[in-house]
């Protein structure tokens, strides 16, 4: 009888079609997950893999992405809460266990070496294959500004299904048919608004209720949470010092390890000797173990500070140099210049048709960008415990890859490795890497039963990063009445290529970074790109906005040079070339209008504009600078973004400001240089960042173009700032700066 009643009630919610745009799987329930999956504790009931309810009336959302400041925990929780009709003040988040349903499919698709402009069967096939691969590999990762794009449909669907289950549970509890019930404001209510049950009162009534067909998702017009500036869920803990970052992990009996790496890239420990003792005692004071880790030496003890001091003063380490122990920056630039002249490109792409006759006038320019370190505020760390199985606590952007690397390093099957992701004290791409995990595992294996927290000093962080590639570009524009051709040859290593080898063991492809070779949005009569991809000993990685971070500088500054050569206003010139791109045009015009483009500025001041589409969003920025006594001051930045549907406008604004400041630090100060095969910089004293006093006033304008596709927001704010500032410097001084960082002296 009960079954019949249940079926009848459930039947009331069926019949609506499933809106599943964006799913990459044959079976959309593949990504929903079983209700027992999400660490269901006593007093809680799982509704599916993404959400559970608790008797204290909490709605707990699974957030399998790294919270590194970009607000993903808040944004993801909003997606579920919206469809579930939860109150925002009852929503909490938890890190779910590593499982295939929590994979990020979008990040693989985004990593394909196609321009977003490209379509066709090959591209479609590759997208489909990457989607399937995401399913097979189960990559749980945070990066590429993909999180919300990836979760948009699955997590709203999870919330909608949870809501329907709660309606059914309330119907069973109260005897009121589902058709007479609605979910609103964190409770199941009669249609007249009377509360039938708070969500928390349904914990014991969900039972094994199930739903075969997901209900339709809300149209945007009905959103209550999405599109509005909800408060961030992570802030209360962060203002009282209670948020647990990787460095704050404390396990019983925990030891601390400091690491010193070989100064030259690819170097190793050749040997070491304790200082001041001819016959080593069993253990130096406070040091439990000395461990050779990949590329360095770790000292493990009861105090990190003491272990660090031991590496400074207590041990002589001899190093085996890497393959290029004499490499310096000047040599590397010469090498790149040679490649620029002679090397065959790894990728050539043309747009438009080449003119038949050679043009008259010619404009040439060479642009440079240096290696950059990430320097997140929290230095690299990982805590590992080996007890036969491995347990890791780590601020990381990819628990899947951490688990794989740890399992390989320990010779264990992956199911014997558990990875806990803590809050990240900044990521910016650095925490996609697994190097520190390998070191922590190496230490933990030597000290079974004892948790070991490996922590790097800031000096190790700056000298042993996976850097934003140094890069070089040579532009040639020709003119025949108007602009005739635009040709670019660029040289730079490929982070994706290196990362595949380094983190996963994939063979290198020698292909350029996909987002370093995206097509320009501008309607050039003829455009040709040749990308040269050198190998090299310097490790390169994903630095916030990756290839866009330097190619936007190359592209948007040279575009200004072309405009000025044609005696056109840089904004007006861009408008002409974007006539067929209404979204780009609206973003550009918004930034220019809000910045007061064209209004007079005092002598020594100037405005510069730049536009970049990246990670599915379009961003334009106008920088206003003041140059006095060869000192450059960026006074204000006006930013416009079209990121499609907006989940949380407060976070979009915060991410634009964040991207601007991050990019400005690099544009004004960022430069990693090499000498004797090693990095010359060491700390914030010689690798500085923008501080409060030199942070510009910033205004962010969100442009609604009505586009249906979501864009990312974590990275797209970074690319336009360097060219906007360089273009403003030209407007202020007449000096064209073609190298980063921007130096007037």
């Amino acid at each position: 009888m009960k079954l019949g009643r249940r079926t009848a009630i459930v039947g009331g919610v069926l019949g609506a079609g499933f809106v599943g745009v964006g799913w990459w799987f044959a079976n959309e329930r593949d990504r929903l997950g079983d209700r027992s999956l999400f660490n269901v504790k006593p007093g809680e009931a799982g509704l599916n893999g993404w959400v559970k309810i608790a008797k204290d009336d909490a709605v707990i959302v699974a957030v399998p992405r790294a919270e590194m400041g970009q607000g993903v925990h808040t944004a993801l929780a909003m997606l579920v809460a919206e469809e579930m009709e939860a109150r925002w003040d009852q929503v909490r988040v938890e890190d779910p266990p590593e499982h295939v349903v929590y994979r990020n499919v979008e990040i693989l698709i985004d990593g394909l070496p196609f321009s977003p402009e490209e379509t066709g069967s090959v591209v479609d096939m590759a997208h489909w294959a990457a989607g399937k691969l995401g399913g097979v590999l189960g990559v749980s990762a945070t990066g590429g500004s993909t999180t919300v794009r990836d979760a948009w449909t699955p997590m709203r669907t999870a919330g909608a299904i949870a809501r329907e289950l709660l309606l059914m549970a309330a119907a069973l509890k109260s005897g009121v048919p589902v058709a007479g019930l609605v979910a609103a404001d964190g409770a199941v209510r009669r249609r007249d608004g009377g509360v039938v049950a708070r969500f928390g009162e349904l914990v014991d009534h969900v039972g094994d209720l199930g739903l075969m067909v997901p209900p339709p998702l809300k149209p945007a017009a009905q959103f209550k949470l999405i599109g509005k500036p909800q408060t961030r869920l992570d802030i209360p803990a962060k203002v009282v010092g209670a948020a647990t970052f990787g460095i704050d992990v404390r396990r019983p009996g925990q030891l601390y390890a400091a690491v010193r790496h070989a100064p030259t890239f690819g170097g190793e420990v050749a040997g070491f000797a304790l200082k001041g003792v001819s016959k080593p005692p069993s253990k130096p004071k406070g040091i439990e173990e000395i461990v050779i880790v990949p590329g360095g030496l770790a000292a493990v003890g009861t105090s990190w500070w003491q272990a660090q001091r031991f590496l400074d003063d207590g041990v002589d380490i001899t190093w085996r140099d890497g393959p290029e122990p004499k490499l310096d920056s000047a040599t590397l630039w010469k090498r790149y210049e040679g490649l620029l002249d002679t090397a065959a490109p790894a990728l050539t792409r043309t747009l438009g048709s080449a003119p038949a006759a050679p043009a008259g006038q010619k404009l040439e320019a060479v642009y440079r960008a240096p290696y950059l370190a990430h320097t997140p505020m929290e230095p690299m760390n990982c805590t590992a415990l080996f007890t036969g199985a491995l347990e890791l606590w780590m601020p990381n952007q990819s628990p899947t890859l951490v688990r794989l690397a740890a399992a390989r390093a320990a010779g264990l099957a992956q199911e014997h490795v558990t990875v806990h992701t803590t809050f990240l004290g900044g990521g910016f791409g650095r925490r996609a890497e697994v190097d520190v995990a390998r070191e922590a595992v190496a230490c933990a294996l030597q000290l079974p039963g004892k948790p070991v927290q490996v922590l790097w000093s800031r000096e190790e962080d700056i000298r042993h990063d996976m850097y934003r590639p140094m890069a070089l570009a040579r532009w040639t524009a020709t003119f025949d009445k108007g602009l005739a051709t635009v040709i670019k040859r660029q040289v730079g290593q490929s982070p994706t290529d290196q990362f595949g080898k380094r983190a996963v063991g994939l063979p290198g492809q020698g292909k350029p970074e996909g987002n370093a070779v995206e097509n320009p949005p501008y309607a050039f009569p003829y455009y040709k790109l040749e990308a040269i991809v050198p190998d090299g000993v310097v490790p390169v990685g994903f630095w916030r906005s990756v290839g866009h971070s330097h190619t936007a500088f190359f592209d948007e500054c040279f575009l200004d040079e072309i405009a000025l050569h044609l005696k056109q206003d840089p904004f007006a010139f861009r408008r002409t070339l974007l006539a067929g791109k209404p979204r780009h045009l609206k973003v550009l015009e918004t930034a220019a209008r809000e910045a007061g483009w064209g209004a007079k500025l005092p002598a020594g001041s100037g405005r510069g504009i730049a536009l970049r589409a990246s990670f599915g969003s379009i961003v334009a920025q106008v920088a206003e600078v003041e140059v006095a006594d060869r000192t450059l001051r960026v006074k204000r930045v006006t930013c416009a973004i079209d990121c499609g549907p907006v989940v949380n406008p407060a976070i979009v604004r915060a991410q634009m400001e964040s991207g601007i400041v991050y990019g400005l630090s690099a544009a004004l100060y960022g430069e990693i240089t090499l000498k004797d095969g090693a990095v010359e910089q060491s700390n914030f004293t010689d690798y500085d960042a923008v501080r409060l006093a030199d942070a510009p006033a910033m205004a962010v304008h969100i442009v609604d173009s009505g586009a249906a596709e979501l864009g990312g927001v974590g990275e797209p704010g970074t690319p336009p700032i360097a060219p906007a500032v360089a273009n403003a410097v030209f407007a202020a001084t007449g000096r064209r700066l073609r190298s980063l960082p921007l130096r007037l002296a």
Binding site: M68, I235, V240, G241, W304, W305, M377, G426, F684, R691
Partner: protein
């Protein structure tokens, strides 16, 4: 050595030159103050020593003996300090790692200068935030000043 942190006296057996930051983090498990650079360049480790903001990564613990140390955990003495309230109201933190240092530096500033100018704020808050929360942070400093200024 005796150190008094957030009103509690602790006897610690550490080398005299061990920095206060590491005594707090390793010997007392007070992890709100963060390690960022180790050379007093970033301010993530900022705590109060007898009410003044100090960068604890570069201050030997012996210098804190017999003085009152206050960390982010003890700033509000069981409640939210107005600076913390302002930080929530302006939604300042992103990754949040540097924020305890900024909050401690701000609380010390506002004690000395209840209505600071932007220039005074710039001069006092020289910490680094790599997430670039500076816009919201400046608004929060002014808001905290207003919250502390009376009803």
């Amino acid at each position: 050595m005796i150190v008094t942190v957030n009103g509690t006296r602790h006897a610690v057996d550490v080398p005299a030159d061990k920095p206060l930051l590491w005594v707090l983090r390793e010997d007392l498990d007070i992890t709100g103050p963060k390690f960022g650079c180790g050379v007093a360049a970033c301010g993530a480790c900022t705590v109060h020593l007898d009410g003044a903001a100090v960068r604890s990564c570069s201050l030997p613990a012996s210098a804190a003996a017999d003085k009152a140390v206050v960390t982010i955990e003890g700033l509000g003495a069981g409640q939210l300090h107005p600076v913390q309230r302002a930080w929530i109201e302006e939604q300042v933190p992103q990754c949040g790692y540097c924020q305890p240092g900024f909050i401690m530096a701000t609380a010390a500033l506002l004690k000395a200068k209840p209505k600071p100018t932007d220039k005074e704020i710039d001069d006092a808050l020289t910490n680094i935030c790599r997430c670039g929360t500076y816009g919201a942070l400046r608004r929060a400093v002014h808001r905290a000043a207003a919250l502390m200024g009376g009803p």
